[in-house]
Subunit: 209 residues, 2 copies
DNA sequence: ATTTTTTATGATCGTTTGGTCAGAAATGAC
DNA sequence: GTCATTTCTGACCAAACGATCATAAAAAAT
């Protein structure tokens, strides 16, 4: 009797719960939690609705599992920004990794955006805990770069916010980006990387006096 | 028999439909369209549910009216960016106006974000029509500034995207911004304006060779 | 003061939705 | 091949929800 409170054990449990989470990600990221129905998810997963609830206790439980998986990987790009490297290149590298996540995992980005937009009721602890801690740590690194004169003075927290905002924008507001760009839309991620690299290089490279 | 397909006429109609739209903005911006119920809106407006539907044909109609009002003002800050002024200051002025909108009208920003996140089903025409047209026009202005050498070369469309992303971030992701900033949160809009002004000034000021 | 029009509501309806349950079908162990 | 366990489903339920309607209360017009 599964009801996946514990990790999937059998081959079938792994397969089916994987299908369900994949389908749920597709549906939740497009319609939000309240806007999605178990019937939609069941249809997308190719399973019956009662069968969903054989593997997960509730709609909430599916959503919670998705958020849990998401948060595992969400901080990796920022963690990979190392104090040892060249400052400007480390920051631009972070921008690149975050933009690649927006390109390759837009559904995860929209799931996250939906959650924050509604006030982050289910992940507020993760935000004010581990996320804040990581940002504070990396802000110290950036402060040191500024003191060492390897990047121009700037507010580290808001610098990180600006990177989040601009990269996630290409996932969360993709419809608008594509509509405004028109025929140039297919190159949008390459163009965005070029633009953002240029923007931050110009803004952050230390000035000669 | 109102059913506000036509504009409110009497004093009572103006008052009540105003109350309803105010309440609906509060609710829709927090929970999204599907996540909001007529009972919530009725409660927030201090009216009975059938009374809501006396003034508006449906839940959809309330939402549509809100989006219509929003789109009226949404483009003003960009329209106000004039080719005649100093290039860098015109762009920073646009950033400032957009950030002030995020600060003073966060509910409108979240309503818009919710709509775009779900694929802009109701306002796609506005995006690919008037919005795209305005962005294309202003991109020409920016191109001319670049040709004239008054700002550094950059991609005008993506420059505008980056301004949207960074300013709206402070409304749409306010929960996250506040949680990460901690005790500095109360100064977040002032700090953001200082950061963004500095960022764009550094990035856009033309370089000497 | 009377009539007409506007505004408001309690009761209720049909659907949708998340979730349950008894039992059938499939799978795996021996 | 038999039996036990896991997997799956059709039928169903209660609550929530958007919407309607007949009618009452309030406001405005005469």
């Amino acid at each position: 009797m599964p009801k996946t409170s514990k990790a999937p054990r059998t081959r079938i449990q792994k397969e089916k719960s994987g299908q369900i989470l994949e389908a749920a990600l597709e549906v939740f990221s497009n319609f939000g939690f309240r806007g999605s129905t178990l019937d939609q998810i069941a249809e997308a997963a190719g399973l019956s609705k009662p069968n969903l609830l054989y593997y997960f206790d509730s709609k909430e439980a599916i959503h919670a599992k998705l958020l849990e998986q998401l948060l595992e990987n969400w901080l990796h790009p920022l963690r990979a920004m190392k104090a040892e490297g060249n400052a400007v290149e480390e920051i631009i590298g972070y921008v690149r990794r975050k933009l690649e996540m927006a390109r390759d995992y837009p559904r995860e980005s929209r799931l996250f955006a939906n959650e924050i937009l509604q006030g982050a009721p289910r992940i507020h602890g993760q935000i004010s805990g581990p996320l804040k801690q990581l940002v504070d740590e990396k802000s110290v690194v950036i402060e040191r770069w500024i003191s060492a004169g390897t990047i121009a003075p700037t507010d580290p927290h808001h610098l990180i916010f600006s990177i989040w905002a601009m990269t996630q924008h290409y996932a969360d507001f993709d419809v608008q980006v594509q509509a405004v760009l028109g025929e140039r839309a297919d190159r949008r991620f390459d163009d965005a990387l070029a633009f953002l690299s240029n923007l931050f290089r110009n803004a952050l490279s230390p000035r000669a006096f």
